[in-house]
């Protein structure tokens, strides 16, 4: 496949991510911060996000598994996850976190467990999508092209 096609595929894919609500404007802001002095900015931030989120999700699972659930701790974790996800523009993850926090306030275990499942699901989805995005970018760069900016 030639560079032009690869670039087009990349652009379409990125557009679809925005359209389906996986990413929002904040991600675009991140992309703007990437320049020659900081060429892997987005990649670094996203990788950090993956590590952080996996740790948080683990902690959440453990906290909700306790016989008596400490909702304050759960809320703190969710708050962190919400902050991180909104910083990189993972919109759907952020939205689930908002609902998650409501359930924590109501101390509703069922709701929390449901939300945890949902968050895990959304996180897995967005992780998949972002990894695919990076792969496509690598392909474009390998073929000698440059990442098209909006």
């Amino acid at each position: 496949m030639d560079v032009g096609q690869l670039q087009r595929r990349l652009v379409d894919y990125t557009a679809s991510l925005f359209r389906e609500g996986f990413l929002d404007d904040q991600f675009t802001q991140l992309q703007q911060l990437q320049d020659e002095s900081n060429p892997d900015f987005v990649f670094e931030v996203v990788s950090l996000f993956f590590e952080d989120s996996e740790r948080l999700l683990n902690d959440l699972a453990i906290s909700l598994d306790q016989p008596s659930v400490d909702f304050k701790k759960v809320d703190a974790h969710v708050h962190q996850l919400k902050g991180s996800s909104s910083s990189i523009g993972a919109q759907r993850v952020k939205n689930v976190c908002i609902a998650f926090r409501n359930f924590c306030e109501e101390q509703n275990i069922e709701g929390c467990l449901r939300c945890l499942q949902q968050v895990k699901h959304e996180y897995a989805l967005v992780k998949n999508k972002l990894e695919t995005l990076f792969r496509l970018e690598q392909q474009v760069l390998a073929a000698g092209g440059s990442i098209p900016m909006e």
């Binding site: 911060l33 910083s87 990189i88």
Partner: protein, 741 residues
């Protein structure tokens, strides 16, 4: 047998009589035996008979009586002792049973009688219930009719359909011969026959409204029976053989919107009514029943409501149509006005150019001519030409200016200028003329008068010049005193100027200029007219005066544009006058040397501000947001240090850091406490870094808490590059508390 003490002589048994007695006894016995049989038979047949025991008793009684009579048969002739014994036994038994029965009957007969009364009572009750049932049924039918009628009537909003439908339905329901509706005419003095059932197009019968029968009907809400020969009922031509059916009339209130006051319900006496007349078929001998009358009354009410709805609808449609028309007319008028204004502006623009060009030519060439060699008469002529053409030029300018001022299309050219030099220039301009008239001009500028101000320099000078020029023009001798100062709040609320309510702010100040002369003065009654266009002071309008009379009018317009006020005081003719005006000018921020062009404060946002090397400290415990914010700041060129907790932040912060970014969502030592500590550590403002809070929380309380804790700014996450840039720009320029969304 032989002898007895009978009164009558003994009578030997007569054969005939004996025979008759014999037969009678036989038949009696027969009857007595058959009665119980019949009783038993019928009681067996009937299912209910409560007194069986009585029956048995009664039967026994009868049988025994019969037996007695039967046995009697044998006693007519000589009989044996057995027969006598049997007879006696029978008699005794009969006696016993009869007494028993008699006793029993005393109990039984009242019961039986009461049964009869109960039966009668029940029969009456049943009859009453039947009647009631009949009534309810008729009511229900009436109700059904009314509902159906109402439905029909209310399913349309057209007045004619409503009325027609009413008549048709009523006619059908009540099987009427004729049904008619009389509506009041416009004058309200007559009733006009508007609708009938049988006639398609009723001829315009009218009856006066003051007839007694009509008054009678209108005075009550019930349906009233009226005579078939009254004028409202005589709709069809009467032919001899008909006995007209009964006629009933009812009023139909015609409701108007204006009848409904909010506080009280409509006054009945001021209402208008229509009259509905209903006629039963002639020769039918039918009578109006109560339920039919009720039906008619209810229908009349419903018709009233339906009519009022229709009327309201008609009115609102009419109003809407009127509004549409008016709209169209207004639109047209507006467009015409716009065209007129455009035409006038075009005209002015053209005339402006067309008039000025020849004027320039005349003035220029005349002044050139002045420079050449001329004889005194020629010189005089040229000077007159020059003066006149200057005058004309001024006139043209004034007129054009004024017309632009009038329709509000004149805008001030705001700019920063040197206030003091404006006054100096005016004095310089007027000095020559003043010295010719031997008038002394002195300028007095207040100490606190700022050197620079923001406003329309050209027009301010024009105003001052005009006022001073007038002072010079109308003074033959003496002095002119020009003084300028800043108007204080008390003096602004003068009794002179009741409508003038200045708004004081720190960006503006009010300049007060007073020009006092000792000239001819103005009489008090002329003062109001001074500022009118084209009016001149008659006392001074003589050959010497020149000018259009427009000057002060234009000044007044300029002064109002500058949100100020101008007025003239004079104590009378010959006592000089004082002209004062107050205008609002902006305070110039920076002072520059004269002649220096001032760069406007408003910077375009797209100017790249570089914050290279700006030392900032970022406190955030969430790795990702920290990285993102740091990326932002690095991209803008800042030198960023990151800390992850409040303690670390306080350890690391120094005077060199210009800005301190605090993320509000950190755990542990809160951002507010950090802010407070920083304030304590660096009490002096210029030593302290600017504190900016980062939060995703949009609540008002958060902002208030931030400002209370001493933050210099609050930024709402998510932060974009533009936002961060703008925030830093504003913070560093103003060093004042700001809030950015």
């Amino acid at each position: 047998m032989e002898s007895c003490n009978c009164i009558e002589p003994q009578w030997p048994a007569d054969e005939l009589l004996m025979k008759y007695q014999y037969i009678s006894d036989f038949f009696i016995a027969l009857a007595y035996f058959s009665i119980p049989l019949e009783l038993i038979y019928f009681v067996k047949k009937s299912a209910v008979f409560p007194y069986r025991w009585v029956l048995v008793q009664f039967g026994a009684f009868i049988v025994l009586c019969g037996a007695t009579h039967l046995i009697n048969l044998w006693t007519f002739s000589t009989h044996s002792r057995t027969v006598a014994v049997v007879m006696t036994t029978a008699k005794v038994l009969t006696a016993v049973v009869s007494c028993a029965t008699a006793l029993m009957l005393v109990h039984i007969i009242p019961d039986l009688l009461s049964v009869k009364t109960r039966e009668l009572f029940l029969k009456n009750k049943a009859a009453a219930l039947d009647r009631e049932m009949g009534l309810i049924r008729t009511q229900e039918e009436t109700g059904r009719h009314v509902r159906m009628l109402t439905h029909e009537i209310r399913s349309t909003l057209d007045r004619h359909t409503i009325l027609k439908t009413t008549l048709v339905e009523l006619g059908r329901t009540l099987a009427l011969e004729e049904c008619a509706l009389w509506m009041p005419t416009r004058t309200g003095l007559e009733l006009q026959l508007s609708y009938t059932l049988r006639h398609q197009n009723p001829v315009g019968f009218t009856v006066p409204i003051q007839l007694p029968v009509i008054n009678q009907v209108f005075s009550t809400s019930r349906a009233v029976k009226i005579s078939p020969s009254s004028p409202v009922a005589r709709i069809r031509p009467l032919t001899g053989k008909y006995i007209p059916g009964e006629v009933v009339a009812v009023r139909v209130p015609l409701l108007h919107l204006s009848n409904f006051q909010i506080n009280d319900w409509p006054e009945l006496s001021t209402k208008r009514y229509a009259l509905m007349v209903l006629m039963l078929p002639s020769d039918s001998a039918r009578q109006w029943h109560v339920h039919e009358l009720e039906l008619v009354e209810v229908v009349a009410d419903q018709v009233a409501v339906a009519l009022s709805h229709a009327a309201i609808l008609e009115e609102s449609m009419r109003a809407r149509d009127m509004l549409l028309e008016q709209n169209v007319a207004l639109d047209l008028a507006r467009r015409e006005a716009e065209t007129a204004i455009c035409a006038r502006n075009d005209f002015l623009a053209v005339m402006n150019h067309e008039m000025r060009t020849p004027m320039h030519a005349i003035i220029a060439l005349s002044s050139l001519l002045q420079e050449t060699e001329l004889t005194p008469e020629q010189r005089l002529m040229v000077e007159t030409i020059l003066k006149s053409s200057n005058l004309l030029a001024t006139l043209i300018n004034d007129v054009l200016d004024l017309s632009r001022l009038e329709d509000g299309s004149l805008e001030l050219d705001i700019g920063t200028f040197n206030l003091h030099s404006v006054f100096r220039e005016v004095v310089n301009l007027i000095k020559p003329i003043a010295s010719v008239k031997r008038l002394l001009v002195s300028l007095n500028l207040a100490h606190d008068l700022p050197e620079y101000a923001v406003g329309d320099e050209k027009r301010l000078m024009q105003t001052i010049l005009n006022v001073v020029g007038n002072a010079v023009k109308f003074s033959k001798e003496g002095n002119i005193l020009i003084s300028a100062c800043i108007a204080k709040a008390e003096s602004l609320r003068d009794s002179h100027i009741p409508e003038f309510s200045p708004l004081l702010s720190d960006k503006h100040f009010y300049l007060r200029v007073q020009v006092k002369d000792s000239g001819s003065g103005i009489s008090p009654q002329d003062i109001p007219k001074i500022f009118n266009k084209f009016t001149q002071n008659h006392a001074t309008a003589n050959r010497n005066s020149s000018g259009t009379g427009l000057g002060l009018a234009i000044c007044k317009r300029f002064v109002s544009l500058m949100k100020g006020h101008i007025w003239i005081e004079s104590e009378g003719l010959g006592k000089g006058c004082t002209a004062v005006f107050i205008v609002r000018l902006g305070i110039a921020e920076h002072s520059h040397d004269s002649g220096h062009h001032f760069i406007p404060k408003l910077q375009a946002n797209h100017v790249q501000a570089s914050f290279s090397g700006l030392k900032v400290l970022l406190m955030d415990d969430n790795g990702i947001t920290r990285m993102v914010t740091k990326g932002l700041l690095v991209h803008l060129g800042c030198d960023v240090t990151v800390v992850t907790s409040g303690d670390e932040c306080l350890r690391v912060v120094t005077q060199e850091h210009m800005v301190l970014f605090l993320d509000l969502s950190i755990t542990g030592m809160g951002a507010y406490e950090v802010a407070v500590c920083v304030h304590e550590r660096f009490p002096k403002r210029h030593e302290r870094p600017l504190l900016v809070a980062l939060t995703g929380n949009t609540e008002k309380a958060t902002k208030e808490n931030c400002l209370r804790a001493g933050m210099d700014g609050v930024i709402l996450k998510p932060v974009s590059l533009e936002k961060m840039r703008n925030v830093l720009l504003e913070l560093l320029e103003h060093q004042a508390p700001r809030e950015v969304q």
